[in-house]
Symmetry: C2
Subunit: 139 residues, 2 copies
DNA sequence: TTGCAATATGCAAAAAAAGGAATATACTAT
DNA sequence: ATAGTATATTCCTTTTTTTGCATATTGCAA
């Protein structure tokens, strides 16, 4: 008779480390954010516009992802740009979609109304049609 | 000048569906359970022994995974056996491990002290060395 | 400096998840 | 039926997350 082998559970520390990753991914808006960063970095105002969420809210979710080590941020003047540090996580999203079924909608749309210099070099912050001088507004 | 394409976020419903999956995976003990089920179904008492956790606790975590659609249960006499319904989730665990680094320990160990018929056909419930008749115990 | 825009952070109430304990259910054997 | 074993579920308390709101910070321009 052959010696029987018994499986032992993966150690708790490893399980916790993995759980931390999934914990970062367990939030719909955070998943949307990661998905939006697929093709490269985006500035916060852009994400805000695309998601239609309050600024502080988006910033909070970004912070969660950043603290989990999934995002890097880069400051450029007034704007900050976030990008994915571990592109492998995108594979997790794809697997999740495959497992839970149902593809998501098309991935192209009309331009969001986002003021960041990259999105709207003309519109944006830069020239900013001045209609009143500070003095006029303050009367 | 080329028409610029804009990415839209995956719809919230999809994101929520995926989030539900990750939510089920965000718990260390649940990950340990899934890992123990890699090589096929196991009975609850077995899992209990391997994890060193209370029965009710293990049962609760199994229920979470079952309700998330990740586990199937099969009743056989007094015991119930759980198995993974979507083997693809194991890929998620592997990816998570790869992303979070650090391999887990060896996967073989001495037999757990588990009473289920499969583990210990001799030991187990079945023969059960009878030392007293019911009458004797009840006096 | 002052003011404004972009972004981040702190705080508190509400919601959700975790974990313990008791109890319920289902089978088996007597 | 009765008792015992294996497993599931319910209830309750504690801990974490979530999320809105206010405020702080940073950079830039007037």
């Amino acid at each position: 008779m052959q010696k029987k082998e018994y499986t032992i559970p993966m150690n708790y520390a490893s399980a916790e480390r993995q759980a931390r990753l999934f914990k970062a991914l367990m939030h719909p808006v955070r998943l949307q954010i990661l998905d939006l960063l697929r093709d490269g970095e985006q500035c916060v105002c852009h994400l805000e516009a695309l998601l239609g969420q309050r600024q502080a809210y988006v910033s909070q979710q970004l912070a969660v992802l950043r603290k989990a080590g999934l995002l890097n941020d880069r400051r450029d003047g007034g704007n900050s740009y976030y990008c994915i540090t571990r592109p492998e996580v995108l594979g997790l999203l794809d697997s999740a979609r495959a497992i839970m079924g149902e593809a998501w909608s098309e991935r192209s749309a009309p331009p969001p109304d986002c003021p960041c210099p990259r999105c709207s070099p003309s519109l944006g912050r830069s020239p900013d049609p001045v209609m009143f001088s500070t003095e006029e507004i303050l009367r």
